[in-house]
């Protein structure tokens, strides 16, 4: 990162101290949490492993954490790692056969689509335990005017969560960068071009894909758990299922699948579009933001498959004459 980026980040970290109000803090937190999830998805997506099933991992992260806390009093400090373990186990259970039997492209997308529906249906079906489609609220540990509970990871003030979300967002970007700079990136790029040829030059295709899937699943589950801790309300439709899984895919495409900050731009763009239109046209008109968003998505995929940020960087690279700055 260059100096300007560090300064911008430093200024951004000061935002909560300026007393901007809960609404703007909420927007910032939501954008950062979803950016973290979207970045986790893009770890796979940028290599052509397009999963339509990340709702499954998000749902596992959110529900396991909350269920352990509500029913067994297990603190999220233990619950979250357990949820992550389960998400990774599910990722292996699905990923290993997929990669072993060379299920790729839209077949992979459809298998993962089935997975996310399985998770959503199981949450709904276990309604006596999970609250079903009505959703569930983690037991509140902030009784008697307590402003925070470390055991429950619940905070009454949004400022605290701002820094938590900021930390995880940066962590997601750090993981992205680490993978980008590793041999795994070259292996994955080779695999996404031609699996047999990659195998022939000594890349263990199944293992490489599996590792990246496990990392992506774990981070997505972590995002789900954080979402639950922040919103203090989860619901099978908002943390799992087809709609959410597609939301993840499309926000990343809108922002730019192949660049580090693409998913972040996607998250900011989609949330600000929804909020902006809501403020502009009011609550009564349902679906306007999604209509515009859907239309833009279609146009994006046809005319600028690299997304908003991808396009911007591309144009800048062309202007400054920098060669090969952006992957096509």
């Amino acid at each position: 990162m260059n100096r300007a980026a560090w300064i911008a980040l430093g200024l951004f970290a000061l935002v909560p101290l300026l007393g901007v109000g809960d609404y703007y803090l909420h927007l910032a937190i939501t954008i950062m949490l979803w950016s973290f999830v979207y970045t986790s998805w893009s770890l796979m997506g940028r290599f052509g492993l397009v999963s339509f099933g990340h709702g499954a991992f998000l749902g596992i992260g959110a529900y396991i954490t909350t269920m352990l806390w509500n029913h067994y009093g297990v603190t999220p400090w233990i619950g979250i790692p357990l949820a992550l373990l389960l998400a990774v186990a599910v990722a292996v259970l699905i990923g290993y056969p997929c990669f072993r039997f060379r299920i790729t492209g839209h077949y992979f997308a459809l298998v993962t689509l089935a997975l996310t529906e399985v998770v959503r249906m199981v949450i709904v079906a276990l309604r006596d335990f999970t609250g079903g489609s009505l959703g569930v609220t983690p037991d509140i540990a902030l009784a008697g005017g307590k402003s925070f509970s470390l055991v429950a990871i619940q905070f009454a003030h949004k400022e605290v969560f701002f820094y938590i979300a900021l930390a995880f967002w940066l962590f997601g970007l750090y993981v992205w960068r680490r993978i980008d700079r590793s041999m795994m990136r070259y292996a994955m790029e080779a695999i996404s071009q031609e699996e047999d040829a990659s195998e022939s030059v000594g890349i263990n295709v199944t293992r490489t894909k599996l590792i990246i899937t496990m990392i992506s699943a774990a981070l997505t589950a972590l995002g789900g758990a954080l979402y639950g801790q922040y919103q203090l309300y989860i619901n099978p439709d908002t943390v799992s299922g087809v709609a959410l899984s597609l939301q993840i895919v499309f926000a990343v495409i809108a922002g730019g699948m192949f660049v580090q900050l693409g998913p972040t731009v996607g998250a900011a763009f989609t949330l600000l579009l929804a909020e902006g239109l809501r403020v502009a046209v009011g609550h009564e008109v349902h679906g306007l933001d999604s209509t515009i968003y859907g239309l833009m998505l279609v146009l994006f995929i046809i005319y600028m498959p690299n997304g908003i940020l991808g396009k911007v960087l591309e144009a800048r690279a062309r202007n400054t004459g920098a060669a090969g700055a952006v992957k096509a």
């Binding site: 689509l113 089935a114 679906g287 209509t291 859907g294």
Partner: protein
């Protein structure tokens, strides 16, 4: 114990009829995939368009039901053509995943546009077709029609593909899309015709669904995923496989719902799908490529 068995039999029969509904849904998607090699992720949203069309024609404009059906089918057929011409054609040459994504974007768009235009209310025709009684067993008439229509539509499609020149050209394109232009078949024209037929079949499914289910903007999410899975399970593009897969799915859902709860039926069906993908990734009747 005797009553239990009657109910189980009713469940199985109902599952059989539900299988007909699913088979009809899968037919159009399967055709389009087999020929154009594109999965219309927004297929169930096309069905939704048809359901809204029939609903408004019948309840608001008081068009006779059968004429409403015909207009509904034509509407969806045209939507299919428009979808292909404006949305899919520009990305046909790019990576396959882009074709999946672009129709996924259409899913969002159509769902949201329906919310914007019609609101989130559940609407139904207000027509209650009676149930047919077989001894102690009650079977909804609308499902019998749906299953019967599915059978007829499938046979009709098979005959069309086998017996007509156009059908032969469609099958030829699906086997080798590079060589057919040299044989004097214009692929873009065949693609448009296929999209029209695929859309028409979606419209037909819409007519039969609107008799049984309320239409609302999110109805596509109820039927979409299961329709793709049926097509994949049968071997994408394989009509007969899709037909069989539809009945397997319907039985799993029906019987699972009978013994446990309807969601467990779906869980069983989806888990079955995932496991089958590993055992027979080419589908039940698909050939290994």
């Amino acid at each position: 114990m005797e009553i239990f068995d009657i109910f189980l039999l009713e469940t199985v029969l109902n599952g059989l009829l539900f299988g007909g509904v699913l088979a009809l849904l899968a037919l159009g998607l399967n055709l389009v995939f087999g020929v154009i090699d594109v999965v219309w992720i927004c297929y169930a949203e096309l069905v939704m368009i048809g359901m809204y069309a029939v609903y408004f024609l019948y309840t608001v404009h008081h068009v006779p039901l059968l004429i409403a059906f015909v207009i509904g089918i034509a509407t969806v057929s045209l939507s299919g053509v428009a979808l292909h011409y404006f949305i899919i054609r520009p990305v046909l040459a790019s990576e396959p995943i882009n074709q999946l994504l672009v129709t996924g974007g259409m899913l969002f768009f159509l769902q949201a546009a329906a919310t914007l235009a019609f609101g989130v209310q559940f609407r139904n025709l207000g027509l209650a077709l009676p149930s047919v009684r077989l001894g102690e067993i009650m079977l909804p008439q609308s499902r019998i029609y749906a299953a019967g229509t599915a059978l007829v539509a499938m046979l009709g499609l098979a005959l069309f593909l086998k017996k007509t020149y156009l059908g032969t050209a469609i099958r030829a394109i699906s086997q080798d899309r590079a060589i057919m232009p040299l044989m004097g078949v214009n692929p873009s024209r065949i693609y448009l015709i296929t999209s029209a037929i695929g859309g028409g079949l979606a419209g037909l499914a819409a007519c039969l669904l609107v008799l049984q289910y309320d239409v609302h903007p999110a109805i596509g999410l109820t039927f979409g995923p299961i329709t793709f899975m049926i097509c994949v399970l049968g071997g994408l593009g394989n009509m007969l496989g899709g037909f069989i897969a539809a009945f397997i799915f319907a039985q799993l859902i029906s019987i699972g719902g009978f013994f446990f709860h309807i969601e467990w039926g779906y869980v069983m069906a989806f888990v079955f799908f995932i496991v089958m993908m590993f055992i027979r990734p080419q589908g039940l009747l698909g050939r290994k490529s």
